[in-house]
């Protein structure tokens, strides 16, 4: 239901983060996330960073599959 984009934080200033997705930058609200740092990856939706992402790609699924089998 929500186009989410994983993007890299490149700059932080109070309540706002500039995120970068393939070179497209936009400043988004980071008010919902604490301790954000440049270099972190976040999930962005409708102009706010809704979640910090632990892995920058979907490789964690490998582990899930391992557990499953």
């Amino acid at each position: 239901m929500c186009v989410g984009l994983s993007a890299k934080v490149v700059r932080i200033s109070d309540g706002t983060a500039v995120v970068d997705a393939g070179g497209a930058k936009r400043s988004v609200s980071s008010e919902l996330l604490e301790d954000l740092e440049p270099g972190d990856y976040v999930m962005v939706h409708a102009g706010i960073a809704i979640a910090k992402i632990t892995d920058e790609d979907d490789s964690e699924t490998d582990q899930l599959m391992e557990e499953l089998l």
Binding site: M1, V3, L5, A7, G22, G23, A24, K25, R26
Partner: protein, 348 residues
């Protein structure tokens, strides 16, 4: 040298001036505007001040194409409406295998439009026409009242000469054809979207707008075995492919991973929920030709300006005529959604 001085003087006269209703009234001031800007840039032996230009017709078959340009904003990274208005028509002629010979241009200008902007537009037109080897032969200038038009609209019409032995058309695609694009896609549409709307997105994307007769000629020089050449303008590559699939009653299979898209364009599309395949290009061709010719064509393109990134992105098939199928990243095949309607950024 002297011309340089005159040109500086001419430009100096434009500073701070705007286009007025009087410039559109057809009298003295209309001539003044034409002389000051349009003649200064477009002058050539075929350009007429009369009702119509008198020209030597092309030999063989003649191609004729017209397009109106209403891009907003009129200036954007990588070009302006002037450059666009030449490229658009030059490319439409080129897509018929026709060498662009003559061009007409009709301006509709909003009262109050800055002369210096008009100068910039005319300058871009001159430069692009020269590059494309086409002559501007006749023009028209109308001034619309404030608010009756937004800035400036340009309509160009081109006449080209069809090189003997080449026949390309949207209904000539054949199963087994390779599908080639001449570079990364969606840049023009992406640029305009960012320049027009206030989405707060900052991306180093410039329009791909370019005159492509040289590229078509290079391809035709490399092989005459060509079926379709089409510039992927409004609606982008996706729309053009659906059109061709319909006109030729063939299926089209694209390999998603082969389609060149600049990372910035992909990033913007990610944010706005858009598909690059539906973003307009103004300097990209879709070419369909027998598979055997594909590499020759790509090689010919790679040495031309504007097409160094040419790539084979798919093939024409017999199955699912009228449809475009994507080979996805997981190896499945799925229909490319049919394009339709206005391009709207979405959140869901």
């Amino acid at each position: 040298m002297n011309e340089y001085v005159d040109n500086e003087a001419r430009k100096a006269k434009l500073v701070g001036k705007t286009v007025t209703m009087a410039h559109g009234a057809g009298g003295h001031q209309t001539s003044e505007l034409i002389d000051m800007i349009f003649k200064a840039h477009f002058d050539n032996p075929d350009l007429t001040a009369d009702d119509a230009a008198v020209l030597t017709p092309p030999i063989g078959k003649m191609a004729v194409s017209t397009d109106g340009f209403i891009v907003s904003p009129a200036f954007y990274p990588g070009g302006n409406i002037g450059k666009l208005s030449i490229c658009g028509t030059v490319n439409d002629l080129s897509c018929m295998g026709a060498k662009p010979l003559y061009l007409t241009c009709a301006f509709v200008i909003e009262e109050g439009f800055p002369m210096e902007k008009l100068e910039e537009i005319a300058e871009a037109m001159e430069k692009t026409a020269k590059e494309a080897g086409v002559r501007i032969v006749s023009g028209d200038t109308k001034v619309a009242g404030k608010g009756q038009v937004d800035g400036v609209f340009i309509t160009t019409t081109g006449i080209g000469e069809i090189t003997d032995g080449v026949e390309v058309a949207g209904n000539l695609a054949k199963p087994g054809d390779a599908i080639i694009v001449t570079g990364d896609i969606g840049r023009h549409g992406c640029t305009i979207l960012l320049a027009r709307e206030d989405f707060g997105i900052d991306a180093d994307v410039t329009s791909d707008c370019a005159p492509l007769w040289g590229n078509v000629k290079a391809v035709m020089d490399a092989t005459h075995e060509l079926h379709v050449i089409r510039d992927a303008t409004r609606g982008g590559v996706g729309t053009v492919l659906y059109e061709i699939a319909g006109q030729s009653q063939v299926g089209i299979r694209l390999d998603a991973s082969k389609i060149p898209v600049a990372p910035e364009v992909r990033g913007v599309c990610g944010m706005l929920g858009l598909e690059p395949l539906y973003l307009a290009c103004e300097g990209r061709l879709v070419i369909m030709a027998p598979k055997e010719q594909a590499q020759t064509i790509v090689d010919a393109l790679k040495v031309c300006p504007y097409s160094q990134d040419a790539a084979i992105i798919g093939e024409v098939t017999e199955e699912q005529p009228g449809k475009v199928v994507m080979l996805t990243e997981i190896g499945t095949q799925a229909l490319l959604p049919q394009p339709g309607g206005e391009l709207l950024p979405r959140i869901c």
